[in-house]
């Protein structure tokens, strides 16, 4: 082990590479052994507490041994809609291991994981970090046999790992097939300042969801009085129901890297990072090859296109933390730390990676920027609405005939989208993922645009046979699981929301509980430190507003219901007294015999 770790650290001797180092150790040993922590602490010259806090923060790192096959099943609502619960039970049986456990022979461990970004081809999972799609009884039979024979992943049939693009509708961006280097040559021809002007003219706004004007961000960063600057591409696509960045990086990666290089030329950065979510490990080698090819072709590295530009891109993998999609948490993670959002100001454009000015943009933003550099601002701006120029690439999943990737001009109505993807009998749509809003069948004329329904691209369709409260329940658990725990309102609040939702969904709620739920929602929303907490109550708030009766129907006809199980609390006492007669039980509420 010592030699193995020594070997990794020789190539990654900086503490900023801690996540990448830990990923390799986890992959080799299926946990991070105590000796490894001790050794890393010495080699990287950081306190062991920093290493432990990183291990305990990211879902894919473990202090105790996991199975040699670490099997994780995606817990996105879309996986549930495709029968995930039944499959998980089937897996438990087939592999003889319970969820959350390691089988006694140490061969396999099984657990849930947050959305793996395969919502159009679920139920999905990960085995030792590699994506599994289209899980069903027959593929599980195969997987169980392969695991029991202890076949290395390289010998598993490729169809288990088949990931499809499923592009069903292309528009302005997806129809573009730029030649490698075209955008950089265009910048060289037009001039750097002039290119920024074109991007400004295009009206391009950040595609992650917040919608900050891209040209303004780049301008601010370029104006900072600092020698070093950084470009970061946020490919930590963790919002359940979003998978467009996976497709863009699979098929349009050259353009994304080109967009990053254009940005670097404009702001004067020499180093860039692609922060790739750990769930997209299957893309890693392919992306490395593209970077290598770009270096060979003079489009990356020193003296790019003989124009004197020096810029290179490094790929950093995440390790299972939704919060790292928040830009300052992402930067912390790039620095080898737990992904805890920073206090702002200062913003990343002034103090980002290692305290230096940093542009963080979404994958789609860089893709669009590359196309704009070639085609000019007007080409992009003539499409869309007044405040939302250009097109938006959507990830569509849930109850429809053709889930996948759709590109639309901004301003498209929900109705049009539902028609195109073959969705019938629709109850409502979750727009923008769990942190977005649920819209009902009364609102299908609404438009996707920053003026109306802003979205990072997640679009999950629910038909009338679905239960909205199941969805809210799933989303609320998701946020409690993903809260970083830094600030009180989100750390405690998301857990309280989870408890309160459970109480109502399980039929233990009373009238006062819905009032309490709403009050708690406002508290978490208004006082949380970052976007996660500020949006964690959205699933409840947006459905409570539209379907108050649905919540009411789950309530008991009493004004107060205890928050805990009275009879359950007596279980230990019953065991100790060896009693199980009627007198040793308590009803949850006093039953009025006259009723």
């Amino acid at each position: 082990m010592r030699q193995f770790i020594q070997g990794i650290v020789e190539n990654n001797h900086q503490a900023t590479h801690l996540l990448q180092i830990l990923r390799q150790i986890q992959s080799r040993f299926h946990y991070i052994p105590e000796e490894a922590i001790e050794q890393l602490s010495g080699l990287l010259n950081i306190p062991r507490t920093q290493i432990i806090s990183v291990i305990e923060f990211y879902s894919f790192f473990h202090l105790t041994r996991r199975g040699r096959y670490e099997l994780l099943i995606s817990d996105s609502i879309t996986d549930h809609m495709l029968g995930k619960k039944d499959l998980l039970g089937y897996l438990e049986n087939k592999l003889a291991v319970a969820v959350g456990e390691v089988r006694s022979d140490g061969v396999v461990s099984l657990d849930n994981t947050s959305c793996t970004g395969m919502c159009d081809q679920g139920p999905a999972g990960l085995v030792n970090g590699y994506a599994l799609t289209h899980l069903d009884h027959s593929s599980i039979d195969k997987i169980a046999a392969l695991i029991n024979q202890q076949k290395p992943l390289s010998e598993w049939p490729g169809e288990l790992f088949q990931v499809d693009d499923n592009i069903h509708k292309s528009g302005l961006l997806l129809n573009q097939q730029l030649e490698q280097g075209a955008a950089l040559k265009a910048v060289l021809m037009r001039g750097i300042k002039e290119t920024l002007t074109e991007i400004d003219k295009s009206g391009l706004r950040g595609r992650g969801g917040a919608g900050f004007k891209t040209a303004m961000k780049w301008q601010f960063c370029s104006e900072e009085q600092q020698a070093e600057r950084y470009v970061v591409c946020n490919a930590d696509e963790g919002e359940p129901g979003t998978f467009k960045d996976r497709v863009l990086l699979n098929t349009y990666a050259d353009q994304v890297f080109e967009g990053m290089t254009v940005c670097a030329a404009i702001i004067g950065a020499k180093q860039g990072f692609l922060y790739l979510r750990g769930e997209y490990l299957h893309l890693h080698d392919k992306l490395q090859n593209i970077l290598e090819q770009r270096r060979r072709n003079g489009l990356l590295g020193t003296n790019i296109l003989d124009a004197g530009w020096n810029f290179d891109i490094e790929i950093c993998l995440g390790a299972g933390a939704y919060i790292c999609g928040e830009e300052s948490a992402l930067i912390e993670s790039l620095e080898g730390k737990a992904g805890i959002p920073r206090n702002r100001p200062p913003y990343p454009v002034t103090q980002g990676y290692l305290g230096k000015p940093t542009v963080v943009n979404n994958v789609e933003t860089f893709l669009a920027a590359a196309s704009i550099a070639v085609n000019g601002g007007d080409w992009f701006a003539h499409i869309g609405t007044e405040k939302s120029k250009g097109t938006k690439i959507l990830s569509i999943s849930g109850d429809c005939a053709r889930p996948g990737i759709y590109e639309y001009p901004f301003g498209v109505t929900v109705q049009t989208i539902l028609h195109d993807c073959g969705a019938d009998d629709v109850l409502g749509v979750q727009v923008g993922g769990p942190s977005g809003s649920f819209i009902s069948d009364q609102e299908f004329e609404r438009k996707l645009a920053f003026e109306d329904l802003a979205t990072g691209g997640s679009f999950i369709i629910f038909n009338t046979r679905r239960n909205i409260l199941d969805m809210v329940h799933n989303f609320t658990h998701f946020f409690a699981h993903e809260s970083c725990g830094f600030c009180t309102p989100c750390r405690v609040g998301t857990s309280l929301l989870q408890k309160q939702m459970d109480k109502i969904v399980e039929g233990h709620g009373s009238a006062g509980d819905v009032v309490a739920l709403e009050e708690l929602c406002q508290l978490v929303k208004n006082y949380s430190h970052c976007g996660l907490g500020q949006t964690a109550a959205n699933p409840i708030l947006t459905t409570l507003e539209r379907y108050p009766d649905l919540y009411q129907s789950r309530l008991k006809e009493i004004s107060y219901e205890p928050g805990f199980d009275l009879d359950g609390a007596l279980e230990t006492a019953r065991r100790m007294a060896n009693r199980d007669d009627a007198g040793a039980h308590l009803a949850q509420i006093e039953v009025n015999e006259h009723e």
Partner: protein
């Protein structure tokens, strides 16, 4: 002309580089807080010091004061919500004031009194947390930790050590210490370290000093936390 902000209508001067909290405390305006102490880098995690700045909620301890800011602090809404945030801190841990040595000296308890907190409001979590009594002179009762990171910062910034850190995610957040065994006795902590004495609750206590000051004669038995904070955390008053 010097720059000013207003807090609840009162004009308050500030210097560049000061946060809203710095400016307020210097002007004898108390804003409730638990994770903040002026000598350490602001953390901004407890959220008790949330104020409305030009209509937007901000943490006073981290948000820079800027000329002309209109800050609201003692509104009914903010006071009510600060109370609920304090109640959150109570329910997520195990805080039994009557049996805690820190009672009367505890800032969490004092803030709760200041905000007129009379019950827990939220259901209790009853988490299963340990006590680390391994060290000869110092003990950690994890039941009372509120994750303010004051001990973490004091150890790094004053003691020049790295004894403490916060680890885990979400509701599983917890305090860890820098030793292979995970026990305080194997760290380089010293009873005279500032980190040992900075805890706002009874999570870090010095052994064999319990009840030397009788209940009834403790810091917050006769004074509200706002008076104490303004007197002790404000350099002008200290001198």
């Amino acid at each position: 002309m010097s720059k000013t902000i207003t807090i609840d209508g009162k004009t308050i001067p500030f210097e560049d580089g000061q946060t809203i909290m710095d400016a307020a405390m210097a002007a004898d305006v108390y804003i409730p807080h638990l994770c903040h102490q002026p000598e350490f880098t602001p953390h901004g995690s407890c959220k008790l010091c949330t104020v409305k700045v030009n209509g937007r909620n901000c943490s006073a301890c981290t948000f820079p004061a800027m000329d002309g800011q209109d800050v609201l602090s003692e509104t009914k809404e903010l006071i009510d919500d600060r109370k609920k945030i304090t109640q959150m801190l109570f329910v997520e841990g195990n805080h039994f004031c009557p049996s805690c040595e820190k009672t009367g000296n505890c800032q969490l308890q004092a803030v709760a009194y200041h905000l007129n907190m009379l019950d827990n409001h939220f259901p209790l979590f009853y988490p299963d947390r340990n006590v680390d009594a391994s060290h000869a002179e110092v003990m950690i009762d994890h039941n009372r930790c509120i994750f303010c990171a004051l001990c973490v910062r004091a150890s790094q910034q004053t003691d020049g050590k790295n004894v403490f850190a916060l680890s885990g995610r979400g509701i599983h957040k917890h305090l860890i210490v820098n030793a292979e065994s995970g026990l305080l006795k194997d760290t380089d902590v010293d009873v005279n370290d500032q980190a040992v004495h900075i805890c706002p609750t009874g999570a870090i206590l010095v052994k064999r000093t319990g009840y030397q000051v009788p209940i009834g004669e403790r810091i917050y038995d006769h004074q509200q936390i706002d008076q104490v904070a303004l007197a002790s955390e404000h350099p002008k008053h200290g001198k």
